[in-house]
């Protein structure tokens, strides 16, 4: 009996320990990043304390001892955050590693042995806690996160000017609150110098931000500042404090109070778990609704022309736009359920970066932006491994050792940034470093060596296309990468994985300055805006995101618009010469026509003009695959130039053009669309 109970408790202990360790790890990383913020230290302290308690009662003495010392240090930090040093951070990290190790031993049932490492750790902790705290800060200062030194400097420097601490509370505006902050910040910048903001880097924050504050140094008076703020805020609360208020603690009290009230509100938000299949089913139904909605819109066009006097018809015409609106809203809401912030995978990286840096002897600072950017859950899960790969590569082969960097005149600490943002219908995740970069010439010689390109091709390729060779399978193996001082390990795998998600990988690099690798992913907008075009009796949809302009070609302007260069037809658009593809010829549908529309489209800066007979109009389409039989690695193979299908209002299928695919197969099989000059 006793044994069973013990096992049960042990299991519980292990579970709890995992959670506690995870939170502590997060906390120590935050401490490293943001310094000794009170809440973080408090949380850290609580976790260490509960782990100590449970370890003690289970009889796991080493864990209890170690956490006890951690507790002491944290307590000290709590009272004087100023003593936080790299040493302490390091010590905390090592302690966590040791705790994890000890936890493993508990799980495996290994006996506790003498561990000199722990003794050493305990000793180091002892040294720190016995030291007298050197700096002391007043409570007031801490509340607005100004050190006493900062406050003193402010007062000395700005005797002529006013220093205001302004707190904002957004009650009415619920969407894109960070943009309100950005707007206010931008307007206030004209009035004085923004010294500090909460949250830090206010101009980079995105998403919800019900509360924020700024410290501004200005020549203006309160009422003027108030007026400027009022111009961009509607009915929202803000309070302006002077430097005296700060010293009296008034601002601090308010700040704390508001902040607490918001964190409580956040916690009380309710949520339920839903089976992902149900969400998919819902999504499918919404898709059907959108198809019917488009049908209604089409029908309503007919009614408009026919029956102006029919009251019922008029009522219908008024209802349909509303249905349109609701369907679109409904679609967005359902999409939203599937969305997850990119930050949820970003947060797994600090630890990884720390570990790889240590192994490789690099000093790397990791920065994030756009953590709130949302992406479809399933895509997000698939992106993690490629990202790990890219991050590993960036540290291993991109960022130089501190010595080397100093020789090159760079700061010894390398910078690695994980950025995410939305661009049109894509989400972009970027891994960017300020390391050695990749030399296109070295890639060229490597590719020649590997037989991936011929010498002639090598001459013709620009540095962009050369960089892309890294993504080719067989470009590099682990031994070739190091002497390249570049990338390559499994980069083709990264590309393959991203392409499976309908995404793309883009590389830019400046030798000596660094490398940026962007993963461009679809938002999985199962419903997109598209332009419907017609060619030889068939309708095709082109996603609007790939279209720049539509140009009418008729007898009068034909010769001006379409030119022939080296027996290939081209179009000059905004001073660019871009290839012309006649859709009918590309699809082998028969003779071409001399009049019609040019769809100027492009992906990744590569442009193409596609000539079609007619343009039907814009509409929302539900993106569907071509089924189980057509596509890459499927029974009937890939269909060049087609990325999927959609259902039209009349129930028939229309194919979706793939601009990128057309560009690709145009490049490859240029002959099939090459056309003799018509000479007319």
């Amino acid at each position: 009996m006793e044994n069973i109970d013990f096992e049960k408790f042990k299991k519980l202990f292990l579970q709890e320990a995992d959670e506690q360790l995870e939170i502590m790890e997060k906390a120590v990383m935050q401490l490293e990043e943001n310094g000794g913020e009170r809440e973080i230290i408090d949380e850290f302290f609580r976790m260490a304390h509960s782990l100590k308690g449970s370890a003690g009662s289970m009889g796991y003495t080493p864990i209890a001892n170690l956490t006890h010392e951690m507790e002491n240090v944290l307590d000290k930090l709590r009272n004087s955050p100023g003593i936080l040093s790299d040493d302490i951070i390091d010590l905390l990290f090592i302690s966590l590693d040791t705790l994890k190790h000890l936890r493993e031993n508990v799980e495996k049932g290994l006996p506790e042995t003498e561990n000199p490492e722990i003794d050493h750790l305990l000793q180091r902790f002892g040294e720190i806690t016995s030291k007298d705290s050197e700096k002391k800060e007043t409570d007031i200062d801490k509340k607005i996160y100004l050190t006493s030194q900062e406050l003193k400097n402010l007062k000395e420097k700005n005797q002529e000017k006013n220093v205001f601490f302004i707190c904002f509370e957004l009650i009415h505006q619920k969407e894109m609150q960070s943009m309100v902050a950005f707007l206010v910040l931008n307007n206030l910048k004209d009035e004085g110098e923004i010294i500090k903001t909460y949250p830090p880097h206010l101009d980079e924050v995105e998403g919800d931000l019900p509360f924020f504050s700024m410290l501004i140094c200005t020549e203006k008076q309160t009422d003027e500042i108030s007026r400027v703020i009022g111009q961009s805020l509607e009915n929202e609360e803000f309070k302006i404090y002077t430097l005296e208020d700060i010293e009296n603690g008034k601002s601090g009290e308010y700040f704390q109070e508001v902040k607490e009230s918001f964190s409580q509100r956040g916690e009380s938000r309710e949520s339920i778990r839903v089976d992902i299949e149900k969400v998919d089913q819902l999504m499918k139904l919404v898709g059907e609704l959108v198809i019917d909605k488009e049908r209604l819109l089409e029908i309503s066009k007919g009614i408009k022309a026919n029956s102006r006097d029919n009251l019922e018809a008029q009522a219908l015409l008024q209802t349909i736009p509303h249905v349109d609106f609701i369907a679109t809203e409904l679609h967005e809401s359902v999409m939203d359920i599937r969305m997850y912030p990119v930050g949820s995978i970003f947060k797994r990286f600090p630890r990884l970066v720390r570990d790889i840096s240590r192994q490789t002897g690099k000093d790397v600072k990791l920065k994030f932006s756009g953590e709130d950017t949302e992406l479809d859950r399933t895509i997000l899960q698939e992106v993690f491994d490629p990202l790990v790969h890219l991050v590993r590569n960036a540290i291993d082969h991109g960022i130089e050792t501190p010595d080397r960097r100093e020789k090159e005149g760079k700061p010894s600490q390398g910078l690695l940034a994980l950025n995410a943002w939305q661009e049109e219908n894509n989400i972009i995740i970027e891994v960017k470093d300020d390391g050695a970069g990749v030399d296109p010439e070295k890639i060229k010689s490597r590719a020649l060596e590997k037989g991936l390109i011929t010498a002639k091709e090598g001459e013709e390729m620009d540095s962009e296309s050369l960089l892309e060779l890294i993504l080719e399978p067989g470009f590099s193996t682990s031994e070739t990468v190091n002497d390249l001082s570049g990338r390559g390990v499994g980069m083709d795998v990264v590309r393959t994985n991203i392409e499976k998600l309908d995404g793309e990988v883009e590389i830019t690099s400046q030798p000596g300055e660094g490398t940026s690798i962007k993963i461009v992913l679809p938002l999985t907008l199962a419903i997109v805006q598209a332009l419907m075009v017609r060619e030889k009796g068939n309708d095709y949809a082109i996603p609007l995101s790939a279209i720049f302009e539509t140009i009418l070609v008729n007898k009068n302007n034909r010769r001006e618009v379409i030119k022939t260069v080296k027996s290939r037809e081209v179009v000059t658009w905004r001073e660019q010469v871009i290839p012309l593809i006649r859709l009918g010829e590309f699809f082998q549908l028969g003779n071409s026509h001399e009049e019609g529309f040019l769809i100027i489209g492009g992906v990744k800066g590569r442009m193409v003009a596609i000539m079609v007979e007619g343009v039907i109009g814009e509409q929302e389409i539900v993106v569907k695959s071509l089924g189980d039989f057509m596509g890459k690695d499927k029974l009937f193979g890939e269909i060049p130039g087609i990325s999927g299908a959609t259902i039209k209002g009349n129930g028939e299928v229309a194919l979706i053009l793939d601009i990128q695919g057309i560009l690709k197969s145009f490049k490859k099989g240029g002959d099939s669309v090459e056309r003799q000059s018509t000479g007319c």
């Binding site: 499918k284 898709g287 059907e288 198809i291 068939n538 590309f586 699809f587 082998q588 549908l589 569907k624 695959s625 071509l626 089924g627 189980d628 039989f629 057509m630 499927k634 029974l635 009937f636 193979g637 269909i639 060049p640 130039g641 087609i642 299908a645 259902i647 009349n650 129930g651 028939e652 299928v653 229309a654 194919l655």
Partner: protein
């Protein structure tokens, strides 16, 4: 004594020959006139196009072209038989649907080796029904990606 096991064959006409498919494989039969087939450019020649099957896009293949038979013009008898294999649907364009036959399993012979018109790969047997001979198609093989290479040969 157990009754002879029977299967139900839906039979159809293709270039003068009678073919059959196990009824359990058939999802539905549609008139060509009822639905618009969307041509898919640069697809294999035997792919007639794609249709909308209750919101899903599925391909329709022309069995005549695939088997290299003489092609009959599309007319009001032309049908699309939608067959199902492991959750995948495909439409088969046939000249005419005949009837449903109950055939004893014993009355289905192995396909003869030197079968002339249709590649033996797609054929699971020859059913004898009174005086008629019905070629029984193996839908699994038509739809199985494992046999990709075999198909590629035929596609050529």
């Amino acid at each position: 004594m157990a009754k002879n096991q029977q299967i139900q064959l839906v039979t159809f006409q293709l270039s003068g020959e009678e073919y059959g498919v196990d009824i359990l494989r058939i999802h539905e039969i549609k008139r060509l006139k009822e639905i618009g087939i969307t041509h898919v450019p640069r697809a294999p020649e035997f792919v007639e196009g794609v249709i909308n099957l209750r919101g899903d896009v599925i391909p329709v293949i022309d069995l005549g072209k695939r088997f290299d038979l003489e092609n009959k013009k599309v007319d009001k008898e032309t049908r699309i038989i939608v067959v199902k294999q492991e959750d995948k649907f495909i439409g088969l364009l046939v000249d005419r649907v005949n009837e449903v036959l109950n055939v004893d399993k014993e009355a289905i012979d192995e396909p003869p080796r030197e079968i002339s018109q249709v590649n033996s790969f797609f054929i699971s047997g020859i059913a004898r029904y009174n005086e008629r001979l019905v070629i029984v198609l193996d839908i699994g093989n038509i739809l199985s990606p494992r046999e990709n290479e075999e198909l590629a040969k035929i596609a050529r």
